[in-house]
């Protein structure tokens, strides 16, 4: 491990010597970094990586950060980097990987995720957006919802129904949809915070080349599941310093405002701080398991805990604010650049946190997942096993 880290450090040094971050054009620098296998070292050679353990990525990131090198602005392409890329890597053809991964990593192409529909939330496999094939081209029609970044995205991960005559999980196919075409209309979806992080996407006779299909026809469910597992890891499992999450501002307020302290609130902040810190440690443990090649099912736990804690802490924070808790910062409709769970004022955080137990799999669905896949408990009795077209909707 040490040897590999040293090798990487010298590779980065050599790369920086050849591409001075101060004078090299940003995109040129990023493309070269990708081509040098220093983008994501755990990806295969030729696709921005070197097939190394994921745990070595921070070594590279630290070196580039120290050199003040341009970044690919990962915060602008969370879906692309966190979900699209692993899905393409796992299920894409060599040609697709070659074509999509580089512009994805450099941030030239933002990706979004076209999964949920007004009629298919938790029951994703029941979705109704149709894709019909004619030769080498598919034509898609339907409506998607809760699509973050759709207004900026070049491509969307689309799962659509390609065979209504078979049971719902079997009739799905996964595509990369070109978002910049006349058949794709993106409208902002305003949420309880006043802003619109998400969009509705109306798909009307949109065209998809068969070369942009990811996985086999009818395998859309399997491919979607690998995307969603990555989503849950990225929502609940990020590396965090102590007091790095929602607890940060609550603890700061507590320290700076002795006048708000009461015995009841004291008990609550001690509990919340302890739970947040333990969740952080559990996140470290999860990453250590991944790094050691022993991925466990704990990712689902992380997301459940993250949602509950964010809600409890933000609720506490509004109370801590006293009279100021009655105020809100701004109801103006805005288009933020990404999800911002910990920003703005306590009122915003309180409202935004309500989404944490819904987005990326509701807490109820996650409990089912844990119960059935981790604990091996019996599945619910199903009434939706027949052909999709015959199911009541």
């Amino acid at each position: 491990m040490l040897d590999e880290a040293d090798t990487l450090r010298s590779q980065v040094a050599a790369f920086l010597a050849a591409h001075d971050p101060a004078t090299t054009e940003r995109l040129e620098f990023l493309r070269a970094r990708f081509d040098a296998g220093l983008a994501w070292v755990h990806y295969p050679a030729g696709l921005g990586g070197q097939g190394l353990p994921r745990s070595l990525q921070p070594v590279v990131d630290r070196e580039f950060a120290a050199a003040e090198a341009p970044t690919n602005h990962p915060e602008r392409n969370g879906i692309g980097l966190g979900m699209a890329a692993p899905t393409i890597l796992a299920h894409g053809t060599p040609e697709q990987k070659e074509r999509w991964l580089r512009p994805l990593w450099t941030g030239e192409e933002i990706w979004c995720q076209l999964f949920s529909e007004p009629g298919a939330g938790s029951d994703l496999a029941g979705l109704a957006t149709r894709a019909v094939r004619d030769g080498d081209t598919w034509t898609a029609n339907g409506q998607k919802v809760w699509t973050s970044s759709a207004h900026m995205a070049r491509r969307g991960l689309l799962v659509a129904r390609t065979d209504p005559d078979v049971p719902k999980h079997q009739g799905l196919t996964y595509f990369a949809l070109d978002m910049k075409q006349p058949g794709v209309e993106v409208r902002p979806l305003r949420q309880i915070t006043g802003e619109a992080e998400f969009n509705e996407v109306f798909i009307t006779d949109a065209k998809i080349a068969d070369a942009d299909r990811i996985g086999e026809v009818g395998q859309g469910w399997t491919v979607s599941m690998s995307t969603l597992m990555n989503e849950r890891v990225s929502i609940g499992g990020g590396a965090m310093p102590r007091e790095g999450g929602m607890i940060a501002s609550a603890a700061r307020t507590w320290r700076e405002h002795p006048e708000v302290r009461t015995p009841g609130l004291h008990d609550r902040i001690l509990r919340l701080w302890a739970d947040a810190e333990v969740a952080r440690i559990a996140g470290s443990r999860l990453r250590q398991q991944l790094a050691a090649g022993e991925p466990g099912p704990e990712g689902s736990a992380a997301k459940l805990v993250f949602a509950r804690l964010n809600q409890e802490i933000s609720e506490f924070e509004v109370e801590l604010a006293g009279g100021d808790g009655l105020l809100y910062d701004d109801w103006t409709m805005r288009r933020p650049q990404g999800a911002n769970f910990f920003g703005r004022n306590p009122g915003f955080r309180f409202l935004r946190a309500k989404g944490n137990s819904i987005e990326g799999g509701t807490s109820e669905i996650l409990r089912n997942v844990v119960a059935e896949r981790v604990l091996g408990l019996p599945k619910e009795a199903r009434v939706d096993t027949g052909p999709w077209k015959d199911l009541p909707r």
């Binding site: 310093p241 902040i269 001690l270 739970d275 022993e294 736990a301 089912n368 059935e372 981790v374």
Partner: protein, 406 residues
Amino acid sequence: MSETTVGTQAGSAPLGPGVSGQAQPARTANLLYTETETELRAAVRGLLADKAPWRDVLARTETGQTYDGGLWHTLAAEVGCAGLLIPETLGGAGASYREAAVVAEELGRAVAQVPFLGSAVIATTALLAAGDTELLPQLASGALTASLTLPFAVGPRTRPETSVRLDAPQRGDGPGDYRLTGTITGLADALPADVLLVPVDSVPYGIYAARVSDPGVGKRPLVSLDMTRQLCEVRLEQVAARRIAAGPTAEQAIAAALLAGAGVVASEQLGVAEQCLDTTVAYVKERRQFARPVGGFQAIKHRLADLWVSVTQARAAARYAADWLAAGFGPETTLAVALAKAVCSDTALKAAQEMIQLHGGIGFTWEHPAHLYLKRAKADSIALGTADAHRASLDVLANLPGPAAG
């Protein structure tokens, strides 16, 4: 493996009173189980499955010998559990709190009736901190079992009050021949102890070692909530004793012992919680009502999923505490133990309570092991500082002070 050191902590963060809680831990704890630890776990689990099935454990609670001397001898002498924390130069295994915590997990899973926590962790830590070289080799070999005579409910602190009276050596006595008189109650793992390490709140504060076999020592078993770890009262009447630590050394030894005890009992609680969860999951898969396994009902699935989530958090906290204990005693270790004891206390209790409820009627009977776990979980949640007491200590450790007094 490194020798256990007390009072130092390599690279510890300056995280103390008045310092921002945002200070970061100075090292990355290893939160996984090593191969050695996994092997140790397998050995202990195998032995317990063979020698301490729950029916035997239950039956033993109603005999005059509530501790299993035979099992302890095997664990101590053959598996080497008694000497895990003791350096090899003193006949121990030279391992650390990480390994001790793994053993504690397994003992918790089996609600085993052995004085591992009291002797191999708490008393051993006190002796290590006191610089003892006489008793430790005998503890390591399993020849002797020791107990630090502080009530089990005492949480981490440096100078617990005791009511034991000390008579200094008289003319004609040997040079180290102190005499102890007093009664101490609520002691865990003291029933099978051969040696008592008695803290005495005198000037200076001291720890004195007395042999149970000497004249003047009496033990009275107490009817205890946790039937698998029977408490007792110890009476001392002019008992001959040797001073093993005094002043700051004694205070530090007691602080270390209580902190290590709380940290390791957190792992025991983790084992209790895991066993409760596993047993309950297995049961709801088998138990049929309304012509289907009750584990298929969402009301039950969600409760067990939540419990599993709690166990993942408890495991991370317990490992964090074990790893920091293995690194030494400093502020981050104190914080890690407080977190682990708080979270694992709540989780073990919740797991045992869910076990009873989700077993339905059978879980409420004497002839099912659930009550053994409920009693252990409740007792452990009070032992060595309640969850509330440990969370309260975060006011200083994490710089979250309470309302001003008055």
